[in-house]
Symmetry: C2
Subunit: 434 residues, 2 copies
């Protein structure tokens, strides 16, 4: 017999939540210590605070500072169990979820919140050369590529006496692309400058490519202009109206022209989790499930689909954006609607509440929009810091990140520029010897 009598025989309605991102986690929190038997299933054992992932990629924070074990976050929710496993299918008639291992979980209510991954516009072969940033593993891989590029340039310079060019390309100028480009500039111009003695890391070239006419397309034109200006102050070359047509090792093609790119990062386009299609219902071009205003699957009242993998025009007629904030709000709302069902109350339609949006662009540089007002520069940057500290899940992480940021700010350097799980391969030829 299991420890807490939690084997689900008690008769409480069984809620299965698929995915421990912002949507799934906030749904689980909303159902904590309520008269339901909750099972949260995720392929990872941790929740990832995605808005700070780029700081892991840039060596400012450690993985443990932006991620926390799901079962640790939920340890005080006696009715919530966490299961590490990969959901591969649903039987909506039998009300069952199947894992890759063949295990089956039965539900009375199902919340699917499996998020989104990068999309390469039909060029999946670009992924190996241009990784995106969605998971802790992505961040560690991007960090490795960035630091290795500097290491290789240093080695070449020592061996040949000549400094090779060093080119970084970021594709896509939404918040993630802008944050990555600004942070690479910070890394090259400041954090690493004193560590490398043969090359001058400040000479590195950072280009930000965007197909549309402006950066941060979902922000106001004023914020776009301010963001571009701040990026350029940092030395980032902003190339709007630039469509990437090819990605190969060491170079990318923009329009008809190839450019050198020692490291290419992808921050353009997302596709919903394939679990949307596994539900066997209508999905939009990005693979998102079109849901009803109470967040349920049309015709399946007991199934809710939330966060980045769903598409909804809400009670106010607003298309709900694919942001952490929307997923959190939908997670809470899904939990509330289930509790309303149990109490015999009518469900409420979801209404997205825009509490503001922001993007950071290196030290003392950011743009923010709150209630129709725009901010930029140091004030926006301080707002960004405050909001992200407040949002960080788990008190432990919050303190650790704050301390790390204060330290990085005072020392003007990042945490630990470590490259792990790397050894030079034998096939990496060298330009000479000394």
């Amino acid at each position: 017999m299991s420890k807490n009598g939690a084997s689900g025989t008690g008769g409480a309605p069984r809620v299965v939540i698929v995915g421990g991102g912002f949507g799934g986690l906030y749904a689980a929190k909303g159902l904590a210590n309520q008269p339901v038997d909750v099972t949260l299933i995720d392929r990872k054992n941790h929740h990832t605070f995605q808005p700070l992932l780029y700081q892991v990629a840039l060596s400012v924070l450690s993985p443990g500072e932006v991620a926390a074990a799901l079962r640790h976050i939920l340890r005080k929710a006696a009715n919530v169990r966490t299961v590490l496993g990969e959901v591969t299918g649903f039987d909506l008639d039998a009300k069952e979820v199947t894992l890759s291992s063949g295990a089956v979980f039965a539900y009375d209510h199902l919340i699917v919140a499996a998020g989104a991954r990068h999309a390469y516009f039909g060029h999946d072969e670009w992924e190996a050369e241009a990784p995106g940033l969605k998971t802790v593993e992505d961040a560690v891989e991007i960090r490795r590529r960035l630091l290795l590029a500097f290491e290789k340039a240093e080695r070449t310079a020592i061996l040949t006496g000549e400094t090779p060019p060093l080119d970084f390309a970021v594709i896509g100028a939404g918040p993630t692309g802008v944050e990555l480009a600004g942070a690479i500039a910070d890394l090259a111009k400041r954090a690493l400058a004193k560590d490398f003695k043969t090359i001058d890391t400040r000479q590195a070239r950072i280009r930000l490519y965007e197909g549309s006419p402006r950066v941060l397309g979902t922000f106001s034109e004023h914020s776009s202009r301010k963001a571009r200006q701040q990026l350029e102050e940092l030395g980032v070359e902003v190339l709007t109206g630039s469509f990437v047509t090819g990605v190969e090792p060491g170079r990318i093609k923009v329009g008809d022209e190839w450019s050198r790119a020692d490291v290419t990062l992808w921050a353009s386009g997302v596709a919903a989790s394939p679990l949307g299609k596994a539900l066997g219902v209508e999905t939009d071009r990005a693979g998102r499930v079109v849901i009803a205003k109470d967040l349920s699957l049309p015709g399946r009242r007991e199934v809710m689909v939330i966060g980045d993998m769903s598409s909804l025009t809400d009670a106010n007629g607003t298309q709900v954006p694919g942001l952490a904030a929307s997923a959190m709000q939908q997670g809470k709302a899904a939990a509330e609607n289930i509790l309303r069902d149990l109490r015999g109350q009518a469900r409420e339609d979801f209404a997205y509440h825009n509490r503001g949006t922001m993007a950071t662009i290196g030290h003392h540089r950011a743009v923010a929009e709150f209630g129709g007002r725009s901010f930029s520069g140091t004030l926006a940057w301080l707002l960004w810091l405050l909001v992200h500290i407040l949002l960080l899940i788990g008190f432990r992480s919050r303190l650790a990140v704050l301390r790390q940021w204060i330290w990085a700010y005072l020392k003007r350097e990042g945490a630990s520029p470590l490259i792990t799980e790397y050894q030079f391969r034998d096939d990496e030829s060298e330009p000479g010897s000394r």
Copy 2:
């Protein structure tokens, strides 16, 4: 032309150091800002503080808290360059070092400090099932195995309603084995106990196997007894006189008998880096290079071999032990002997100075020996904390680790039990469904 005129054309004697562990790093520090042109070559971009690696394996510390980028540690040493690369061979007559890429570095003085890896007594096939703990990658892999074992047991318990047994085996009861076994007990009995709701992690069985008659064989008999007693208080089963004769997935063989082992860790036996043999000189059974009392290779005054990959009976007739402390002392001594050469002074023979040894066994438990006196329990544990904080390289890491320890102590929990780079594989079958 390179940034700091560091291309080695200035005529200063060229010192090449192979390996950035304790020996190589202390040699580089000893030569910092002296009239020599130093190149430090390592396969990793970071120095690893090995005495604390087991805390990364047990989720108490993050990788960035026990490792620091070599070029960052050495950033103020204007005459020291750091190269990321794998040394594969030497031409001692031509005075050249060759990397896997084919690049060649010429030297006037060479310090080889490439350390040691685990040895499996001729059973290299055991390594996959019983990883050892030498690198940050090893620590992350061990962490993943330990946490996954708990996750799988929880999932099985949820699906079947019955808690499966959970067995951990540590092979070898030297300081690393004792520390690992004690820390696994801490993890199971305390840190994870509240996070897992279906299984009772405190029921996990931890066995420590040792072929010789006592644990911590290099310590006094009194300390051995105290260590064993403290391990048993923590619930670790200590099995001395137990020779492991087989390691397979899920089980190990001791003598003629197989025992269940969900996770097996290897802390028994080391072998010197194969670079010892690459020097083309006499090595002992463990592959260590037998060196002269001035740390040089007999007949090759300009080549020094230090740390775990060398074997030396020192000026006092003591066999120098394979410890971090000896490697640090040899690194300093190698640098001093090179500087003596330059000043036309005679070299000094190396004499190992035993400043004490210690091993920690979970919270408030340790053994320590200083100047013929033995300590155990809380006092030894506090001594251990103090010494390791003082030894930690780089002020940044030291503060971070101290803060982390205080936090873990107050909260009675570890840092971030994250499993990264893992997804359940399809071939992991499950015992049932619910």
